[in-house]
Symmetry: C2
Subunit: 322 residues, 2 copies
């Protein structure tokens, strides 16, 4: 095993930004743009809870940063940088985190950091007797007072989601079924797409500025669409009608639904979407959708926020609640 | 086990600052004072590596924050707040992290956060199949461009340390000896003092402003005095003479030296001091010491920085290198 110093110099200094001071000091330095607030988010991941220990290391590095970038996007914040705490299993643990593993991990992490303009600026590497653990704290900036809250939804707001919902949760089920030699009868392309959506979430950072200009509230969907929607609405003490037919699902997910109708439930309640849920006032809904389209972001209107104390209803095509 | 939501509401929301938004949003918000840089430090701790799983939970909470506050102090930064990533062992792991444990942990963490004016502003709680893991990222502010680097030592600078050196490393040895029923013949008071120094480091945050006004370089001593001094000097490509007799040791540590001379070595090379090492230009050395005295901080001059390429020498009273 490399020393902490060599490990940092070899694998992490190359992906560090200027503020990381070459990762040689005890601390990083960040100067948020004048007139801006700093937005801070933390997401921790443990092997065999949030990813499989035998996942490709590049995807583990990618995912650890992606889930944090997704939070910044949903808050309307533009990425500035991140710090990484890495808990590496001691040799005896059986998980082989050798030099090749670290190089691939840092490669996946660094590629996303570069494409998102969110450099590594500091962190810590420690040894643990347990499985691999990762914690990333990411920093973004918003013009002062403009962070998009989770709590601001108002009656009449239109509810939008980016991308497609449920792919990653189905991808995880496929992965688990594979491990039990119970592979499902999906085409290889569909299976690959769904699994990739689980392994390599794509944070929607292009939506940040659009949310600031249009949304009353937003959050990223990480714990399942239905549950995360409920969290947002409860904070504002409002209800909503959601049209089930309007919820965007990928072609691959729809193929999975045909194979096993239970996957419809998985898609709405499973986690790991890393799409953005936004509540946009009716008057700005069209402009919001147009701005997203221009930015190359797929968004779909899925429902409407109702008055205080109303329930959250998921409506079938015939208008009946499921 | 409480849900993540209940766990946060019961134990962590009460110690959160305003910027934590009640810990109900996806992100925290920080507005560093105008004209200031943000200093960011991350330290991770794993059970049975950085602390014992059966340590009092209040001291685990205290230590996790203290080691980060110590980094801020050494950088000349005044604390603003911190985020916590908590990796809680799943039930099966045998480590009982019940409601009482969490209450005591949050109590220890919150007490130090309050006394240091460094509130909890966000974080994440996840489950792990391994031992307890903690990662704290702490934020501080310095007037723009005034962060005290690790790398700025210059020939002629006087080397100072705060407090006393080696107590925690000896305290750890005592604790390990106890576990093996090989208790050393130290008085109960001395044993307790040394063990407390290991369990409950006291970050020297009062030194931050003084360092900004006087020091060329500073770092906190966490991996052992000798090794950390070498890190600072190598970065500046300079050497130093350190007078062994001048290194401050507590009465309890000196009693341990008498019991077993090996502890002299432990004191200089062991970790967990969380004192501050500073390189101060000769012209400011007296003013630095006076300012520390006024702030109630014990500091001791232990050596002098030598020219480039010179070695680091630890000198006995007779002037001979050890």
């Amino acid at each position: 095993m490399l020393s902490e110093f060599d490990l940092i110099a070899r694998h992490f200094a190359p992906i560090a930004g200027e503020a990381g001071l070459g990762l040689l000091d005890d601390a990083a330095l960040l100067r948020p743009p004048v007139g801006h607030d700093l937005v801070i988010t933390t997401d921790a991941l443990a092997a065999d809870v949030h990813f499989f220990a035998d996942d490709p290391p590049a995807t583990i590095g990618h995912k650890a940063l992606a889930v944090n970038l997704s939070d910044l996007a949903a808050k309307g914040a533009d990425p500035l940088g991140f710090v990484l705490a890495l808990m590496l299993p001691a040799q005896k643990s059986g998980m082989r985190l050798d030099d090749d593993w670290l190089a691939a991990f840092a490669g996946g992490l660094g590629a996303l950091a570069k494409s998102a303009a969110c450099p590594l600026i500091g962190g810590d590497t420690v040894s643990t007797g347990g499985p691999l653990g990762l914690s990333i704290t990411a920093f973004g900036s918003v013009p002062a007072g403009r962070m998009v809250r989770r709590s601001g939804a108002k009656p009449g707001d239109r509810l939008f989601v980016t991308g497609t919902i449920g792919d990653a949760a189905i991808g995880l089920q496929l992965r688990l079924a594979e491990k039990q030699d119970k592979a499902l009868q999906l085409s290889a392309d569909h299976g690959h797409f769904l699994h990739e959506r689980y392994l390599r979430p794509r944070p929607r950072n292009a939506i940040a500025a659009i949310l600031r200009g249009h949304a009353h509230a937003a959050m990223d969907i990480s714990d399942g669409f239905a549950g995360d929607l409920a969290k947002m609405l409860r904070l504002a003490n409002v209800g909503a009608d959601v049209l089930l037919d309007n919820i965007p699902h990928s072609v691959a997910a729809r193929a999975a639904f045909r194979h096993d109708p239970e996957f419809r439930e998985t898609a709405l309640t499973g986690g790991d979407d890393y799409e953005v849920l936004a509540a946009v006032p009716e008057a700005k809904a069209k402009a919001f959708a147009t701005a997203c389209l221009k930015a190359g972001l797929a968004v779909t209107q899925v429902g409407t926020v109702l008055s205080e104390q109303a329930p959250i209803r998921f409506l079938e095509a015939d208008g009946k609640p499921r």
